[in-house]
């Protein structure tokens, strides 16, 4: 044995076993992240990247340029609306689904399996399916309507006399549809772990079903709902696939992550692309900090 003490041997073995994990996260995640921050402060394109080098030509130009474009602010507002509405709807539908499937019934396994499909299926397949079903030419949804609607290519339309952003609402509906199973799984697991006594006591006290939900069950679900809200918010805020595949960012649905992609590939402006990604990440962190402060305060009030 080379080690002096067992404890030292253990420490060395631990580091040896964890090192492959650390190396790959460091090389493929942490270092690239630092580089992304550096790129945001450099005027780089794929053509001149070798001349600029790692430390050359630091500038704030990317940020002033990106923030001066009205397109960026529109995209940021879209991202906000899309994230808040998508997160909220998916959690509400997930909660309703969990309540409906709480008790056993014939065919529950089948319905449960079916509910998980939108979440499990590959995003490319389900976005293509939505495009087909909503197509104004041969989409099945439009055969049910008196007048075909171009759900994914029309920025504005009127519904009951009110002007609505059609494509943005469709993208939000997709988000709710695709991610409510995620909320459903978490909330159902929590509901099934709740002690039955509290609910039974409330029945004895004469509480109605809505009162039992409001005053007995919901207070026990707040934690998991708050956690889901954070997770879904973080994932949706920076989500690229769904919007890009559904609309390509057209028809008033451009979110910041799609802009980041377009600047990176179509415009070949790495600096501006990185700057927007950094702004997006910073806005996300600010929201998280505000939320956690707010939520941590609420937690204390509840005791």
């Amino acid at each position: 044995m080379r080690g002096r003490t067992l404890r030292e041997q253990e420490g060395r073995a631990g580091l040896a076993l964890i090192s492959p994990t650390l190396v790959i996260t460091l090389v493929v995640v942490v270092l690239p992240l630092l580089w992304a921050i550096m790129l945001a402060f450099q005027d780089v394109r794929l053509i001149n990247i070798r001349q600029v080098g790692l430390f050359g030509g630091y500038t704030l130009e990317n940020f002033t340029y990106v923030l001066a474009e009205p397109g960026f602010w529109t995209a940021l507002v879209n991202t906000m609306i899309y994230t808040v509405a998508g997160t909220g709807l998916s959690i509400v539908i997930g909660l309703v689904a969990a309540l409906a499937l709480r008790d056993r019934f014939r065919g529950r396994t089948l319905v449960r399996a079916s509910i998980l499909i939108p979440y499990v299926a590959p995003v490319v397949a389900v976005t293509f399916l939505w495009q087909t079903m909503l197509s104004p030419q041969y989409g099945i949804v439009n055969t049910w309507l008196s007048e075909p609607i171009a759900f994914l290519t029309q920025a504005r339309g009127t519904f009951l006399g009110v002007e609505v952003p059609v494509a943005l609402l469709t993208v939000i509906a997709f988000e709710a549809w695709r991610y409510f199973p995620f909320a459903f799984l978490f909330i159902l697991a929590r509901i099934q772990a709740l002690p039955a006594e509290l609910d039974e006591a409330a029945v004895v006290d004469g509480a109605t079903p809505t009162q039992r939900f409001r005053y007995v069950m919901l207070p026990q679900l707040w934690r998991i709902i708050a956690l889901l809200a954070v997770l879904r918010f973080v994932f949706t805020f920076t989500k690229f696939d769904d919007v890009y595949l559904l609309t390509g960012g057209g028809a008033g649905t451009e979110v910041v992550s799609v802009r980041v992609y377009n600047f990176l590939t179509a415009r070949d402006d790495i600096g501006a692309s990185a700057a927007q990604a950094i702004v997006l990440a910073v806005v996300l962190v600010v929201f998280l900090v505000i939320y956690l402060k707010f939520f941590a305060g609420g937690e204390r009030d509840q005791g």
């Binding site: 998980l116 989409g139 920076t238 980041v260 590939t265 990604a277």
Partner: protein, 281 residues
Amino acid sequence: MTRDRFERALFRALRPLVIAVLFAITAFPLYYMVMLSFRDIQELILEPGSLWPRDFTLDTYTNVLGRQGFLIFMRNSAIVAVVSVAVTLLISIPGAYAVARLRFFGRRQVHFLFLAVYLFPAIVLAIPLFVLFTMLGLRGSLFGLILVYIAQTVPVTVYMLRNYFETVPQSVEEAAAIDGCTRLSTIWRVVLPLSKPALMATGLYAFMIAWNEFLFALLFLVEKRDSWTVSLGLSQLAGSIEIPTTVLMAGSVVLTLPIVVVFFAGERLLTEGLTAGAEKG
């Protein structure tokens, strides 16, 4: 009628309705996808509202697998997914064991790193990796893609496995050590056989990420058609007007089916494994 009785009656009536709606909005799209994949495009254009094909055709599948190259895409996806799963497990098993059992410098900080990687936006990471892989000439190679998938899944799988490893009784491991097992052979002979459900779940997670992922596949492989994964292939061909929608729907089925089968097969095994363990106490 009292409020209580009214509410009970209301929810008794509403519940089946909600269940029916949820089933419809999730099962119908899947049914529609499968149904369209067996139809000729002419039929769809003539009768867009029909819910049952007049003639079943398999031409859509032969077309999409052969002419459109989905067989090659499937091979690529399979390589990417299988290698990702294997290497992810290979890296995360020792990592998770170390975090669960061994006291080493920086053990506490590791959690923070893993959480950060889990929540970290892929779109930010996409920029430097795109630039790096362009400079290294790694774009178009499946190797680069696999590397990114592993890096994205390993922190999460370490976390998943660690939680399970901690439930393995330490006394079993000590017994193995007394019987002369080294640390690695203890992991191999004692911990892993006891952790099969967790290994399944972890492998499943890594497989789903690798099979479904789109952004990095798009960034790294788009210019080289021979390297396309199924996801990328479908997304690229979906834009073209020459390929009939029903043929692409067959492609959708080919993309979706493996993941749905793997998920539900794995889910059942997983719950079985967990309950079997619980019965033994």
